[in-house]
């Protein structure tokens, strides 16, 4: 639940999602769900020459299970808030 809430707060920000097949897609975070599936708007593949497979895709849905990393804007991370939330969650479980 923690990361679901965290990503909900990041909606509207530019992120780069790196997938487990090495594909990297940059776009605006449109929405996220409980499985951490990600919907990106205005998406474009980072290395378009190497991966032209999604040239005509502007909005995409990325299944949570294939995400390796989500690269965030540095000012998108409130480390203190995350630490507190993590401590609370760790205590709860």
């Amino acid at each position: 639940m923690l990361f679901f809430s965290y990503f909900k707060d990041l909606v509207g920000r530019e992120v780069t999602v790196e997938l487990k097949n090495d594909l990297a897609i940059r776009g605006t975070l449109h929405s996220v769900d409980q499985y951490l599936n990600i919907k990106l708007e205005n998406s474009r593949v980072v290395d378009q020459d190497k991966y032209p497979h999604m040239l005509s895709v502007r909005n995409c849905f990325i299944r949570g299970s294939v995400v390796r990393y989500v690269q965030l804007p540095p000012d998108g991370v409130d480390v203190e808030l995350l630490h507190d939330a993590t401590r609370r969650e760790a205590r709860g479980s």
């Binding site: 599936n37 032209p52 497979h53 005509s56 294939v66």
Partner: protein, 90 residues
Amino acid sequence: MLLSELISVITNDGRNIVGILKGFDQATNIILDESHERVYSTKEGVQQIVLGLYIIRGDNISIVGELDEDLEARLDLTELRAHPLKPVIH
């Protein structure tokens, strides 16, 4: 919302399947009509293999992309050369 739209599905084994989204569920299982697979190669243009009505199991799906008609029209698939996509490794 994306129902009856043309979409592009990237599967876990690196295949690209294009078709009209007819249905889906919570597990991201997908029903695709008039689907065809686009096979990319470094040696020749994009090959299109007609598949018809397909159900793709959610387990096997990486990306579901909404195809932009204008961008699609501008694409010259015969000139595109690319390495096939890598399979997903968990």
